[in-house]
C-alpha cells in the first residue's frame, strides 16, 4: 500500500496533549463556575425565600398502609383475615435509658429476656424517631400489666394494629401460606414506597403468589408537622386502597376431612375438579401454624420447625417427588390401546414373574404365585405387574415416556403456587444427558420393564398425580390446576371469576378406550377382585381408582435414627388415586401416605372420605 507513512512524533504529541488538557481544564472551570453561580443564586439571593419555605409549618406526607385483602374458600368461609391486635412499640429518641427500659420490660414479662440482644440490634437499625414494634400480640393481661406501670416506661406505647389471622391454622397453612416480616432480600426487590408503613409481606403459597393484589395500594395523609416532626394536624387524605379479596377454589370441609384423615402422618392429599382444574383440597402433612409466623416466631420456635424429622415446613403436595408406582398403570394401559400394542380382551397368563428374552433375571409380581389368565381389565383391577412388564416392552420407553408426558407428568403443572417441582419422566435421552459416567448413560431394557409399574427413575408430585387423575376422569381434557376462583373488589363487593385455562389435551379421541380404562378403575374399588374392594364395595356412589405402592430405596446415611425409626421409615409409600362419580366425574383425588405400606389399605380410605365429603356437600 502506497500511503504516506506517518511516524510517531513524541514531542509534538506531548504538546498537542498538553493543549488539549488546558482546554479541558477551562471546560472544567467553566462548568464548576456554573454550579457555583447556581449555588450562590439559591443560597444567597434566594435565601430569604427558601428559608421561609422551610421555616414555616411543614407539610409532611405520611403513608397510610392499605388493609390486606381477605382470602375465602369456594363457599365463602374466611381462610385469612385481619384482626386487631395490640403491640408494644418503642420510639428510641423518647427513651432516656434503653437498657434499663428493656430490662424492666423483661422483668414485667412483657418481652422475653433472651430476646433483648436481638431487640437492641433491631432498635439500632432504625432511625431514632421511628416507632419500632418490640412485641406483638399482647393479650388482655399484658395490656393491663403495662397500663399500671406505664409511667416506668417513657417512650414505650401500646398500639392497635391489624394482624393476619388464619382461622383454620395448620390444616390450611401449606395451601394459603403466611405473611411475615419483610427481609433484606425482599426489601431490595420491592418498591419501598408501596410498602411504607407496612412491615409484613406474603411469604409462601397464595399469600406470596398474589402478594401484589392482596397488598393493595398505600395511601397518603398530608399532615402538618412541627420542627421535631410531631404531627399537629391532618390536612388532606389520599386514601389507601385495600387489597383485593381472593376467593379460592378450596373446599374447607373437604380440606378438614382430609387433614383429619391424615392424622399427622407424613404425606399429601390433592383433589381437583376435572372439568375446570380447580384445586378442591390441598393438604401437606404434617404442617405448621401460619398464625405463629404472622405474629413473629422466635428463633427457637423456628429452629424446632426446621429441624423436625418430619419436616413440617416442607410442602409435600407441591414439592415432594415420589415414585408413582402402580397408579400410572391406567395411563400406560390407555397408551397400549392407543398405540395398538395390546388387544384388550386377549388373556395373558401371569405366572408370578417376567423375564426378558435371553435373560435370567426375574421381574417379580407382587403376588408370588401369579394372577393366572389376565386381560387388560383384570390387570388394572388386580394390579398385575407381569401384564404391565410385558406392556412396557411392547410400548417401549419412548412411547411410554411420551404418553406419561401427555398427562402432564415430568413438567410443572404451572399451578399458581411458587416453587413447584417438575417430577421426572425418564427416557434414554434424559439418561444420556444426566449421567457423566459413560457406563451409566446407557438405557437398559430392564429399566423399560420397571418403568411399566411406575418404579425406577419415574417421579411425580402429588399435585401432578391429582392432575393426571383429573385428566383421566375428563377423558383427556386438561386444565391447568389453579387455586384461584375469583377476585372480589373489597369496596364494591363485585366478584370477577377466573376462567379455567385449558391445556393441550391428551389426544386420545376413541371414547371406547376411555370407557375401558374407567371401567377397570371402577373395578379396582367396586369389582370382585379389585385391590381396594374392601374400601369401595359398600360405597353408595360409583367410584374409580387405582392403588399404588412405591418402594423406599434411599435412607439418608448421615442422619441418626433409632432402630424403630429406621424400620418405620423404610416401609413402602402408600398411594391412591381416585375419581367420582364414574359417569360424570366431579372430583379427582391423589393421596400419598409416606411409609404407609399399602395403597389400598392406607391411602384409599382417605381418598374415599374426601370424595364422599365433597359430593355429599355439593349435590
Amino acid at each position: 500500500m502506497a500511503t504516506t507513512l506517518r511516524i510517531k512524533d513524541h514531542w509534538s504529541e506531548q504538546r498537542l496533549f498538553t493543549r488539549r488538557v488546558i482546554v479541558s481544564a477551562l471546560f472544567v472551570f467553566g462548568l464548576t463556575t456554573l454550579v457555583l453561580w447556581r449555588l450562590a443564586q439559591l443560597q444567597v439571593a434566594g435565601y430569604d425565600y427558601f428559608s421561609a419555605q422551610s421555616q414555616g409549618n411543614r407539610i409532611r406526607i405520611q403513608p397510610m398502609p392499605p388493609t390486606r385483602g381477605l382470602i375465602f374458600d369456594r363457599s365463602g368461609n374466611v381462610l385469612a383475615e385481619n384482626t386487631p391486635s395490640y403491640q408494644l412499640e418503642l420510639i428510641p429518641e423518647q427513651v432516656p435509658d434503653l437498657d434499663q427500659t428493656l430490662t424492666r420490660l423483661a422483668e414485667s414479662d412483657l418481652i422475653a429476656a433472651e430476646d433483648i440482644g436481638e431487640l437492641r440490634a433491631l432498635i439500632d437499625s432504625h432511625r431514632r424517631f421511628d416507632s419500632i414494634a418490640i412485641r406483638q400480640r399482647l393479650d388482655d393481661d399484658d395490656v393491663a400489666r403495662f397500663a399500671v406501670q406505664r409511667p416506668r416506661f417513657p417512650g414505650v406505647e401500646i398500639r392497635a394494629r391489624l394482624a393476619r389471622n388464619y382461622p383454620y391454622g395448620e390444616a390450611m397453612s401449606h395451601a394459603i401460606g403466611y405473611v411475615g416480616g419483610i427481609n433484606a432480600a425482599e426489601k431490595r426487590e420491592l418498591d419501598e414506597s408501596d410498602y411504607a408503613g407496612t412491615s409484613l409481606i406474603g411469604k409462601v403459597s397464595i399469600e406470596r403468589t398474589y402478594e401484589d393484589e392482596l397488598h393493595g395500594q398505600v395511601g397518603h395523609a398530608e399532615v402538618l408537622v412541627n420542627a421535631r416532626g410531631r404531627i399537629m394536624d391532618t390536612l388532606g387524605n389520599d386514601m389507601a386502597r385495600p387489597g383485593a379479596d381472593l376467593i379460592l377454589t378450596l373446599d374447607s370441609r373437604t380440606q378438614l376431612v382430609a387433614w383429619e384423615a391424615m392424622a399427622g402422618r407424613r404425606g399429601a392429599v390433592v383433589a381437583i375438579a376435572p372439568d375446570t382444574g380447580e384445586i378442591l383440597t390441598f393438604i401437606s402433612s404434617p404442617s405448621y401454624d401460619a398464625n405463629a409466623f404472622s405474629s413473629g416466631l422466635t428463633r427457637k420456635e423456628f429452629n424446632a420447625l426446621q429441624t423436625d424429622l418430619d419436616r413440617p415446613l416442607f410442602n409435600r403436595a407441591l414439592r415432594g417427588a415420589y415414585p408413582p408406582g402402580s397408579t400410572i398403570k391406567p395411563i400406560l394401559a390407555l397408551g397400549g390401546l392407543h398405540h395398538g400394542a395390546m388387544s384388550p380382551d386377549e388373556k395373558d397368563y401371569c405366572i408370578g414373574f417376567f423375564q426378558l428374552p435371553g435373560k435370567s433375571h426375574r421381574y417379580r409380581d407382587w403376588k408370588p404365585q401369579g394372577h393366572g389368565p389376565m386381560d387388560m381389565h383384570d390387570a388394572i383391577a388386580e394390579s398385575c405387574d407381569v401384564y404391565f412388564y410385558k406392556l412396557a416392552t411392547k410400548l417401549e420407553i419412548d412411547r411410554m415416556a411420551n404418553f406419561l408426558q401427555r398427562f402432564g407428568l415430568g413438567e410443572q403443572t404451572g399451578v399458581d403456587l411458587g416453587g413447584e417441582k417438575a417430577g421426572l419422566v425418564p427416557d434414554p435421552g434424559w439418561k444420556r444427558r444426566s449421567f457423566s459416567n459413560r457406563g451409566d448413560q446407557v438405557w437398559f431394557p430392564g429399566e423399560t420393564v420397571i418403568t411399566g409399574i411406575g418404579q425406577g427413575y419415574l417421579l411425580a408430585t402429588p399435585l401432578q398425580l391429582a392432575h393426571a387423575t383429573a385428566t383421566i376422569a375428563a377423558r383427556g381434557n386438561r386444565y391447568r390446576p389453579t387455586m384461584l376462583k375469583g377476585r372480589r373488589d373489597p369496596t364494591t363487593g363485585e366478584i370477577v371469576y377466573t376462567d379455567p385455562e385449558p391445556l393441550k389435551p391428551v389426544g386420545v379421541d376413541d371414547d371406547e378406550q376411555w370407557d375401558r380404562i374407567h371401567s377397570a378403575m371402577n373395578a379396582v374399588l367396586q369389582g370382585d377382585n379389585g385391590t381396594a374392594r374392601a374400601v369401595g364395595m359398600d360405597a353408595p356412589l360409583t367410584m374409580a381408582g387405582k392403588s399404588g405402592t412405591a418402594q423406599v430405596f434411599t435412607v439418608a446415611q448421615d442422619e441418626e435414627y433409632d432402630a424403630e425409626e429406621i424400620s418405620e421409615r423404610m416401609r413402602d409409600h402408600a398411594l391412591f388415586i381416585a375419581f367420582a362419580p364414574l359417569q360424570a366425574p366431579r372430583i379427582a383425588v391423589a393421596v400419598i401416605v409416606e411409609n404407609g405400606e399399602s395403597g389400598s389399605r392406607t391411602a384409599a380410605p382417605i381418598a374415599r372420605s374426601v370424595i364422599e365429603t365433597y359430593l355429599a356437600e355439593s349435590s
Binding site: L16, F17, R20, L31, T32, Q43, R127, E189
Partner: protein
C-alpha cells in the same frame, strides 16, 4: 524554599512519609483529596442516613474495601495495564452480552436480581472502555486518522448500546463520555468536534420522540416548570432547592437541617446528599467540597500531562475528566440545572458498588504517577 524554614525534625518526618507513600506507589495529593471527600461523605451520611451508626459503619467498610482496591491497583505498572486492556474490554463486553441474553429470561419479579448481575459488567466497562481506547491509540501517530477515529467510535458505541438497552441510560452516557474524553485528548481535529456536537444537536428531537421513556421526558419537563406537579415528578427538585437555599451562607449546622432530618428531601442519603450538605453546611461547605473535588481533578490532569507515554496520558486524562462529569452531573441535577438522572455524588453518596470502580480509577492514576520516575531512570 519553604523547606528550609522548617525544623529539621519535621523535615525528616515529612521525607519518611514521602518515602512510605512512594514505596506503596501512592500519590499523597490524591490520597489527601480522596480522604477529605470521604470524611465529608461519612459526616453527611450520618446526618442523611437517619443518624444510624450501622449505616455509617457499612459505608466506612465499603470505603475501606474501595481503598484497598485502589492500593492494590496502584502496584500494577501502566505497561501491564495496557497489555490487559483488550482482555478487560473483551471480558466486560462478553459479560454485557451475556447479561442481555440472560436478562430476558426472568422479567417482572426477577428484575432486581437482573440488576445485581447487570451491574458488574457495566462497572468493568467504566474503566475498560477508556483503557481499551488509550491502548489502541498508544503506538499510533497522533492526531489519529479518520479510520482510527471510526474504530474508536465503534469500540465506544458497542458496549454503550448494550448498556443503554438494559436500560441504564445514565451509565451508558457516562461511559460514552469517558470514551469521548480519550478521543478528544488524543487530539482529533476541531472539525470533528464541531461535527459531533452538531450531530448531537440534530439528533435531540429523535432522542425525544423515539428513545426517551415517558418518565424521562417528564423529568425534563419538570425541570423547566417544577411547580406543574409539586407532589409528583417536581417534588425532588423543589425540596432539593428549598434544602440548599435555606442553608444560606453558613448552613443550619450538622444534624440540624430540617429538610433532611424531617425527610422532606427524598433520596437524601444517595443521589441528593449534596442538598443535605448545602442545607447543613451552607454555601461555605458546598463550595469547600467543590474545591476539594476540583483539587482532585486538577491533580489528575497534572498527572496526565507529566505522564510519559501516550497510553498513560490518555487514560489519566480520561479518568480525571470522567470523575468531573460525575460531580458536575450530580451537583447540577441537585441544584436543578439539569434533569434528574440517577448519578450519585462520587465518594459521598451512601451505598452503591460504583465506589470500588471510582477508586480503582484513582489506583490507575497513582500507578501512572508513581511508576513514572522508575521508568525514566
Amino acid at each position: 524554599m519553604s523547606a528550609v524554614l522548617l525544623g529539621s525534625r519535621r523535615q525528616r518526618d515529612l521525607t519518611a512519609l514521602a518515602r512510605l507513600l512512594r514505596g506503596l506507589h501512592l500519590d499523597g495529593f490524591l490520597l489527601a483529596g480522596i480522604a477529605a471527600v470521604m470524611a465529608v461523605g461519612l459526616l453527611a451520611g450520618f446526618s442523611a442516613g437517619g443518624q444510624s451508626s450501622t449505616v455509617v459503619w457499612g459505608q466506612a467498610v465499603r470505603m475501606g474495601a474501595a481503598l484497598a482496591t485502589m492500593v492494590l491497583i496502584a502496584q500494577v505498572p501502566p505497561v501491564w495495564l495496557r497489555r490487559t486492556s483488550p482482555w478487560a474490554y473483551a471480558m466486560g463486553f462478553g459479560l454485557l452480552a451475556l447479561v442481555l441474553i440472560a436478562g430476558d429470561v426472568g422479567k417482572g419479579a426477577q428484575r432486581w436480581l437482573d440488576f445485581g448481575l447487570r451491574f458488574q459488567p457495566s462497572e468493568i466497562m467504566k474503566l475498560a472502555v477508556p483503557m481499551m481506547l488509550a491502548a489502541l491509540l498508544h503506538d499510533r501517530p497522533l492526531p489519529p486518522s479518520a479510520g482510527l477515529i471510526a474504530a474508536c467510535l465503534g469500540l465506544i458505541f458497542a458496549p454503550v448500546a448494550l448498556i443503554a438497552l438494559q436500560p441504564d441510560l445514565g451509565t451508558a452516557i457516562l461511559i460514552a463520555l469517558s470514551g469521548a474524553a480519550v478521543v478528544f485528548l488524543a487530539g482529533i481535529g476541531a472539525a470533528y468536534i464541531i461535527g459531533a456536537l452538531g450531530l448531537v444537536f440534530v439528533s435531540l428531537p429523535a432522542l425525544w420522540y423515539l428513545v426517551m421513556h415517558d418518565y424521562q421526558k417528564r423529568r425534563v419537563l419538570t425541570l423547566i416548570n417544577p411547580d406543574s406537579d409539586p407532589l409528583g415528578a417536581g417534588y425532588h427538585i423543589i425540596q432539593s432547592k428549598i434544602a440548599i437555599g435555606s442553608g444560606g451562607l453558613f448552613g443550619k449546622g450538622w444534624l440540624n437541617g430540617s429538610q433532611g432530618q424531617l425527610e422532606f428531601l427524598p433520596e437524601r442519603s444517595t443521589d441528593f446528599i449534596f442538598a443535605v450538605i448545602g442545607e447543613e453546611f451552607g454555601l461555605l461547605g458546598a463550595v469547600s467540597l467543590l474545591l476539594i473535588y476540583l483539587f482532585i481533578v486538577g491533580r489528575g490532569l497534572v498527572i496526565a500531562t507529566t505522564a510519559q507515554d501516550t497510553f498513560s496520558r490518555l487514560l489519566a486524562g480520561s479518568i480525571s475528566l470522567t470523575f468531573f462529569f460525575y460531580i458536575f452531573v450530580n451537583t447540577a441535577m441537585v441544584t436543578g440545572l439539569v434533569p434528574v438522572v440517577g448519578v450519585p455524588l462520587p465518594l459521598v453518596s451512601l451505598g452503591g458498588t460504583s465506589m470500588v470502580t471510582l477508586l480503582a480509577g484513582f489506583g490507575i492514576l497513582m500507578s501512572i504517577q508513581t511508576h513514572r520516575k522508575l521508568l525514566a531512570q
